[in-house]
Amino acid sequence: MNSHQGNFVRASMIEAAPAPIQTGGLAYWLRKNLFATPKDTALTIISLLVLAWLVPPAVQWLFIDAAWTGGGRGVCATVAQGGSQPDGWSGACWAFVNAKFDQFLFGRYPIEERWRPALVGILFILFLTPMLIPKVPYKNINAILLLVVLPILALILLPGGWFGLPFVETPLWGGLMVTLVLSFVGIAVSLPLGILLALGRRSTMPVIKMLCTFFIEVVRGIPLITVLFMASVMLPLFLPQGVTFDKFLRALIGVSFFASAYMAEVVRGGLQAIGKGQYEGADSLGLSYWQKMNLIVLPQALKLVIPGIVNTFIGLFKDTSLVSIIGMFDLLGIVRLNFSDANWASAVTPISGLIFAGFIFWLFCFGMSRYSGFMERVLDTSHKR
């Protein structure tokens, strides 16, 4: 065997490799993260070129060339289009957003009554902020304020008609206010309803199980827009003559039902992840069904699926923009409504308005997803490495 030396065995010692030039500092970081291999270098250069091609014009368009103030379309149109900007100009029309800002917040809510939604909004922030910070005490009182007192106040203040407040009908509502009311109610309804549906789907009673499964699968199988159509066209058919629902309320029902089907599937995932021993343990303690669920199973199951629940919330928040299709003016709807304002019509108005609305939506959704990540870490009781 010894005589039969394979040519894969090295006969001479390999030269000692030189010491690494640097293991820290900027140059090292650049070499490691951007120019590690020829392929990486090529990718980095291509990305940098794309960025150089995209970012400066975008900054120029969004900030430097943008029209920030002004009272009409003149500031956002070139001379050829009947405005005051030089020919060939293109920039964001923030003056439009500036002038319409109140409308984007409240829609066509009467100006002298706008303190009402503003007050509800301020109270909402006041009640929500301490709720979101885990360290703030008195969570019970806080929850009552947020989930009982605030909705009652909002029900009194927003439509009015009580205590000498003039009545403001819902077609006048609009803007971010509608988006937030729809999402808040949708979230507040869909979570408990979703939990009930999930429990129903896992029930041992065949009729209940079948009904819940049917509801969940049908709603999840069709687009939200058909659900909204159903709520706006078919609901009036189902009710006796003379009974009418407010359009806003119908949209609320549609959105809540839709979200609760998705919520049910998320919660079901959490329920399935809880070991059988937990159920049996609760049973052997003699707990009733609801005690078992409320005290043992749901607290564990819901904690597991926080990311999924928040994702459903985010989806619901984004989906509220669909009500603009059935003729309501949420944030997106009111922005689009203002495109047709002759005083502001210009080539850059639509895109400026849409970028603004997109930014607001993004802010809320991104905030929610960041908060869910934070909560996951706070509630984490597992023994992670």
Partner: protein, 397 residues
């Protein structure tokens, strides 16, 4: 355990009310549910019949044979305003399918590229991919559609000032115009050879697999198949004397003439759905690849498998198991989101149905058609993806 405890069964002496028996109680609850449900359905049906009678609307699907009387912007099958409502719905259905399928393909490609980009060692690529995902995931798809429709495509130049792109493609505010292939005599042979090439590739792939399992030698399958699928039709194309020509759009005085035009409605819907869904697919792909244990690729490297092959033969097949189920639901979401077409007037199933609903007032029938079609689409996609998933699943002994 105490021995003295008697073992008389509990059943023999009923304690307390019969309502304490969970089985009886279960039946009781279910009976109540059924009774309430039947009453509710009866009440709703009664109201509906009354309302329909009052509004003079005949129920039933007879209206589908009526004359539609409205035009459709884009149609894959022959359609005029004299066609029936039923045909209009079929047109809408095909348009839904078109945007869903093209959107799914593009979203998958973008999503895989961005998802792999998020795992790149290159800091810049990883951060750019992250920015893409965080931007598009957190904006409503409807807003993205409007962004393309009224923000970008509407402010493109007029048709007579169309922006000319390479390959005779023109871009203007009425959409994108590109050369239309015209199939002359003999072009069917090109098609036949293409079909033959595909069938041959299938058998070649089987042969390659059997050969590799028997001898361990790898057959250069990819290049052979590419050569077959592209080369054979090309040969036939040249042999039959280039029967396929292109009808090139020409800039006229006011408009472009010739070529095919894709309208801005389809374009904005397609772009928005692709970009929006791609952000979600990217996250799924990232999770899938991260879900494959590092030991798998290390083991492959230890066996001397090259990095490219490691990815293709070891990492990707395992990652696909994690990726496919959530990917299916994203495909379904994209299909359902294509109903947002109604906001910009692309004639999909919901938009056409909405028009019919306004014209005829047949709310229940139209909504029921929507539900049936979307449910069957969902079911078909699920079945297909489940089949694919079963093929990919771990074969356990």
């Amino acid at each position: 355990m105490a021995i003295g405890v008697t073992t008389t069964p509990e059943k023999s002496k009923p304690s307390g009310s019969i309502m304490n028996d969970p089985q009886v109680r279960g039946i009781f609850y279910q009976v109540i549910t059924v009774v309430i449900l039947v009453a509710l359905v009866y009440w709703i049906a009664d109201n509906t019949i009354q309302n329909l009678k009052r509004a003079n609307i005949a129920s039933g699907y007879g209206f589908l044979n009526g004359r539609a009387g409205f035009d459709v912007g884009q149609s894959l099958i022959a359609y005029t305003s004299d066609s029936t409502y039923g045909r209009a719905l079929v047109v809408g259905f095909f348009n839904t399918l078109l945007v869903a399928v093209t959107g799914i393909i593009t979203a998958t490609i973008i999503g895989f590229v961005v998802g792999i980009g998020r795992l790149s060692h290159n800091w810049l690529i990883a951060k750019l991919s992250l920015a893409y995902v965080e931007v598009f995931r957190n904006i409503p798809p409807l807003l993205v559609i409007f962004f393309w429709y009224s923000g970008v495509l509407a402010v493109l130049p007029q048709p007579r000032e169309s922006a000319a792109l390479p390959l005779n493609i023109f871009l203007n505010n009425r959409g994108i115009a590109f050369p239309k292939p015209v199939f002359g005599d003999g072009s069917q042979y090109v098609f036949y050879t293409f079909v033959i090439a595909v069938i041959a590739s299938f058998f070649l792939a089987r042969y390659a697999r059997i050969k590799q399992e028997a001898t361990g030698q790898r057959f250069p399958l990819l290049w052979t198949v590419l050569g077959l699928v592209i080369g054979l039709p090309l040969l036939a194309f040249l042999a039959t004397g280039s029967p396929i020509t292109f009808d090139v759009p020409v800039a006229g005085k006011f408009n472009l003439t010739g070529g095919s035009v894709i309208g801005p409605e389809f374009l904005s819907l397609f772009l928005a759905l692709s970009f929006y869904t791609a952000a979600f697919i990217a996250e799924i792909v990232r999770a899938g690849i991260r879900g494959v244990s590092k030991g798998q690729s290390e083991a492959a490297h230890a066996l001397g498998v090259r990095p490219g092959l490691t990815t293709r033969l070891v990492v990707v097949p395992q990652a696909m198991r994690i990726i496919i189920p959530p990917l299916t639901s994203q495909y379904l979401n994209l299909t359902k989101n294509s109903s947002l077409a109604i906001a910009i007037g692309y004639a999909d199933l919901v938009a056409v149905g909405g028009t019919i609903l306004n014209q005829t007032g047949q709310a229940i029938e139209v909504v029921s058609i929507w539900i049936i079609v979307y449910l069957s689409l969902s079911l078909t996609t699920s079945l297909l993806m489940n089949w694919f998933n079963a093929r990919m699943a771990l074969v356990e002994r």
